[in-house]
Amino acid sequence: MNSNAPPTSHQSRNMGFAGLLLLGLIAVVLMGVQLGSEGLAWRSVQADWTLMTDIRLPRTLGACLAGALLGLAGALAQGLFRNPLADPYLLGSASGASLGVALGMVMLSHMGTNLWFVKVGITGMAFLGAWAAVALSLLLSWGVQHTLRLLLAGVVVGVVLGALASLLLIMYPSIQGSVQSFMLGSTAYVGWPACLLMGLVLLLSWLLAVAASPMLDGLALGESTAQSLGLPVRQLRWLLLAVLSLCTAAAVAQTGLIAFVGLAAPHLVRARMKGVHRQSLSLSCLMGGLLLGGADLLARGLMAPIELPVGVLTAICGGGYLLYLMHGVTTSSRAYKGAGS
């Protein structure tokens, strides 16, 4: 490297990493199109054309898009809250979405179908529930100014709305199956309209997140520093929280509660790259897409023709990763203490 040049080596490494993730995504989509209930079927392309374009392709793309949304939301949450364990659901959106679905199912099964609910649908109820939970967290924390208060409000809202959802399940046992399937997460019913919606939300969210990313860089050096750099911290925090909530609600509404993708994707990215948030946000999108797309493939293929709930798979893999992470953190902190003594 030229001694007077800014360091570009990590930028080209990041570009290479993005290229690898993109290749992985393409491979996942190609395999997802071929993967049926009898495993991979490379030779029967002609016969299964409709099946592939109408069911498998939107499903695989939908899994990748939902994963990308969760990856972006996770990276935003960890940057905004300056907490490596923050995930997209930390403001109560998961419990809110579950309650929304439970309410929707109750209305559908017990109050007839000629309601406004029919127009909203289950996905709409999940979306509204997730948004309402975030709004409630913001209301209870009196805005975005105090991060800790906001996190605590998110925990409270999550617990209370989760309890309400459980109460509905006990009161109306007939909805248990549908709500449980939502809570386990599934990409089985993602069609082209859902793909289009998630694609548009992802594009808009990514543009907004990248535009506001200097705030996250500034925030990484502390709230005071971000403010002193002339960044409109309060406004950008509102904007990024709105983007975070939009991404989470859009993904949850279409695929149910997918665990750990939003938490793990930014960590996996950060383990391989260094640089500013503009790059890590984009890479987290790609990583999230690859993780959920890959998990969807495994869920369909591992025990074919029986399909595993993709949320269960991401939870098991994500839990394992989190344990690995904990081990890494403990080891490095031990090493640090050893070096310091």
Binding site: P6, G218, A220, L221, G222, T225, Q227, G275
Partner: protein, 261 residues
């Protein structure tokens, strides 16, 4: 210090509340161009709160003027170009590189979403070379020791090229050779006309400043030359008379050194 130098920062009857606690109580002060002030006092005296109030980072009563203009008359960006802040234990995200961190100091000079200009790169290079961090510019913050991080954060503040620098414990965790370097950088900054206010717990370094401001219980109890007897008395008093003073000669000038007793 000459009194003909222009005032760059002034505060009039500034008070800061932390909940029910009055952290800064009716403080008035002026800071002149080319002046280095060491702000000292016991823990909880209100030093950091005052510094934050001067930087406009916490809500405060009273008036703070930067370059003779009230805070409210400044645009966010112009203010950030004029006043640089270096806070305590700033960095939390380890994957930012040393270069990225220093480049953040150029944010106030850049349009939104614009790439850094060649001038930005040149300024960052000078700032990193000043703190001797240029050789590890591609390393991430996570790979640095506490003192090395502090130097990089200082480079970030230097890259702002501000007229006023407010630094809250800039020497925390910095080893002795780099403390000596820091004194040189501050001297260099003030010679170029910048003003520096630094909260320092290193009392003997405070005594090298042009002015020492002494705080206790939210009040500014003394502001004066480090060579003046009443400055030493004020410092002894706020530190519960637990300081032992020793005289020494520095290039023919009488200086004082404070040790705990």
């Amino acid at each position: 210090m000459s009194h003909s130098l222009p005032t760059v920062l002034s505060a009039s009857h500034v008070s800061v509340m932390h909940g029910q606690h009055l952290a800064v109580n009716d403080v008035s002060l002026t800071l002149q161009s080319g002046e280095w002030v060491a702000l000292t006092g016991p823990n909880g005296a209100g030093k950091s709160s005052l510094l934050k109030a001067l930087a406009g980072l916490v809500p405060a009563q009273g008036q703070v003027c930067l370059m003779g203009k009230a805070w409210s008359a400044w645009s966010r960006q112009a203010r950030a170009q004029t006043l640089a802040w270096l806070g305590q234990s700033e960095a939390s995200q380890d994957e930012l590189t040393v270069y990225d961190v220093a480049m953040l100091g150029r944010l106030p000079h850049q349009s939104w979403l614009a790439s850094p200009s060649s001038q930005d790169h040149a300024v960052v290079e000078v700032a990193l070379k000043t703190v001797q961090a240029w050789d590890w510019r591609a390393r991430s913050l996570g790979q640095l020791s506490g003192g090395e991080r502090q130097r990089v954060l200082l480079a970030r503040a230097l890259a702002v090229q501000a007229k006023v620098y407010l630094m809250d414990e800039p020497l925390a965790g910095v080893d002795v050779p780099h403390q000596a370097d820091w004194l040189e950088w501050v001297k260099c900054l003030t010679e170029q006309g910048a003003a520096v206010v630094s909260v320092l717990h290193e009392l003997n370094l405070s005594l090298k400043a042009d002015q020492v401001w002494v705080m206790s219980d939210g009040r500014m109890v003394h502001a004066g030359s480090p060579l003046a007897t009443d400055t030493r008395q004020a410092m002894s008093k706020v530190f519960q008379n637990r300081l032992q003073w020793h005289e020494w000669q520095d290039e023919g000038q009488t200086r004082w050194m404070a040790l705990p007793k």
